[in-house]
Amino acid sequence: MEMPITKPSMVSYADELDFSKLMEDLAKDHKNGFIRVTSGSEEGYILYKDGKQVAASYGRFSKSEALEKINSALGNKNTLIEVFDIGPSQVNYLLDLNKPYTIEADSKVYDVIGELKKTSTGTSEEPVEEVTSQIKEPEVTESNKVEASSENVSEDVKSVENVVEPSVAEKPDTSLKEQPSSPEPPKEVEKNEEVDSAPSLGLDEAEADSSAEVEKSSVADKLDKALNELPKDEGVDELHDSSPSEFLDESVDSSIKDISEQPMADTKSETPDMAEIGSESSETQDMVEEIPVDRSELLKKYGIKDVQDDDVENLLQSYKGGIIDDDDVERVELVLMNLIKKSVLGIPKIKGTEVMVFLDNYKELSGTINIITEYESQGFLNRIMGQNRTAVNLRRQIINIAEIAIKKSFRQYPEVVEKFEINVEFS
């Protein structure tokens, strides 16, 4: 699945963590996010929304198959579990992005995961016996039911449970025998029908699928793993998953015998096919990774906010006097002039005033304001005694008024007032 990998909110190894408890906690807290499970070169994801699992993947597996694989991986003490918290909107987006992995709303995946974890210690060993014994018993009677359910997409949860329950684990091989409508590659089928060496081909199928499952491991690893696990649960799982069609009963029977009887050396002779399939799968994976992704999708995926023009504008306002364009300077001067003039004329003793504003928009906004004022003449004696004091008071008052006007004009930048030189003259 495509997931935005950021900083995990929790990291733990499988043996240090009670996975079912983790799932319960996530559900209880109605958390949004995803869990990454890394086991060797394998990687799986469980996406959860409001505490419920909504999508899952593990290698090329999806939904319940992926959960099954994740469960197997949890049995390995070196499996790394990382929890990533994301927002609800991101979950929705990721669901859209990872539709093929979406788990149906009515599935009981939550319970399944809990059960899987609790029984995980048993699953790793028991299926070996089950499978071998089952291979020897070619009972096909129940297979139809299994097949029918395997075709249904909503059976995912059941199939996971099947793996846990040893009795049901026998079913997969029967799917080999009767495959009513599966889209098997035609070449393989022809090969099976034409050549009487069907047994080895049957094995081939199993190997091919198992190798395709192991996406990221090297070819040698894949081979070893396939050979080791073929008679065990994984090989059988794959047979179950593959649901090949048009296999003749005879060939299937003989193939079953071959699976149990064929020596390892024979299986190794099939290596080139596996290698080819493995390399093809890795190539296709590379191709998928190389597909150019839309920028807006990438931004969403990683939660990066695109920068808006307004943001840049605001940022640049604080730089290089970007508040005012040169064209606007005259307009601002006029507004400031009228504002100051009106305020000064409001002072009782002022008879008249002229205000001149000169803005300097270079580097930083600054300017000069010249105010020429005429105030009421007083009596001769008063003039001698108090003119000086009146002028000082008036000057202070006018400067205050001018400063208020500047602050009003540049509300967001009150500090700009310090960059204005205010001159007051009396006529």
Binding site: E289, Y302, I304, V307, V312, L315, Y319, K320, E364
Partner: protein, 259 residues
């Protein structure tokens, strides 16, 4: 004509100063007259990386109006000229970034390439460093926060009319947790011009106060930076292969005093 190139990042700690210092030395080894100016007056580190701390006159003094820019130019490793920012916190109060422009005018006269190490963020000092240049190299690590900040820086630089040469991805690791090169290119809409791998040699060189391209020219980081320098000026560069001698032969050579 002198090229003025600012190295900026947005986010701090992505290795911008290390790249600037080493790129300056790399360009100087190609025969270019290079001046590296540390415009990060608040968090000056360039002089530490180049082993030039403790200079008497720095950019601090120039921007405070206490010295001329000519007095703040020093000869650095590999023939690169360096204007250290100075590490005095006291001097910060008196600094006026407006003076940077006139200082740059003088520096341009005596260099082929003027490399400016811009401060992180988008404060006034960072904007002054970006706006002073004609070209810009954007440095980022392949992590989301770093790329997010680089995106802002790139857009602001575009608005200031600065030509963005490309992105340098620093501390690249082959790890799926990080963004891929193509994803970074798509998000930033700028080509990736260099990918510098995570390299412990970088911090080792910094500890010695020596640029990595001088201390360990065979390291992948040195090769990547030398290649970047060559690409910037249209030169050819042949990467230096790391020493493939075995430990024993190295030991023998060491004992024989050949090293």
């Amino acid at each position: 004509m002198t090229r003025v190139i600012t190295v900026a990042s947005g986010k701090g700690g992505v290795g911008k100063t290390t790249i600037t210092a080493n790129l300056g030395v790399a360009l100087a080894t190609y025969g270019e007259q290079v001046i590296v100016l540390d415009a990060d007056v608040a968090m000056a580190n360039l002089e530490l990386i180049l082993g030039m701390e403790g200079k008497s006159v720095t950019l601090h003094d120039v921007l405070s109006g206490d010295a001329d820019i000519e007095d703040a130019i020093y000869e650095g490793p590999g023939g690169v000229k360096v204007v250290p920012a100075g590490i005095s916190l006291e001097g910060l109060r008196k600094i006026k970034m407006d003076r940077l422009e006139s200082a740059l005018e003088i520096l341009i006269e005596s260099a082929d390439i003027l490399l400016i190490d811009a401060p992180a963020g988008l404060e006034k000092d960072a904007l002054a460093a970006i706006a002073a240049a004609q070209e810009m190299i954007l440095v980022t690590t392949p992590e989301v926060p770093s790329i997010s900040d680089a995106l802002k820086t790139k857009i602001v630089a575009n608005r200031l009319g600065v030509d963005i040469l490309g992105v340098v991805i620093n501390r690249e690791q082959h790890d799926k947790t990080f963004l891929t090169i193509s994803e970074i290119e798509t998000i930033l809409e700028v080509p990736v011009i260099a990918v510098i791998p995570e390299d412990n040699e970088v911090s080792r060189a910094a500890a010695f106060g020596e640029p990595l391209v001088v201390k360990n020219p065979k390291s992948p980081t040195s090769n990547a930076i030398m290649q970047l320098g060559a690409d910037l000026i249209g030169e050819e560069y042949q990467p230096i292969e790391p020493d493939k001698k075995g430990v024993i032969s190295k030991l023998v050579e060491g004992l024989l005093g050949r090293r």
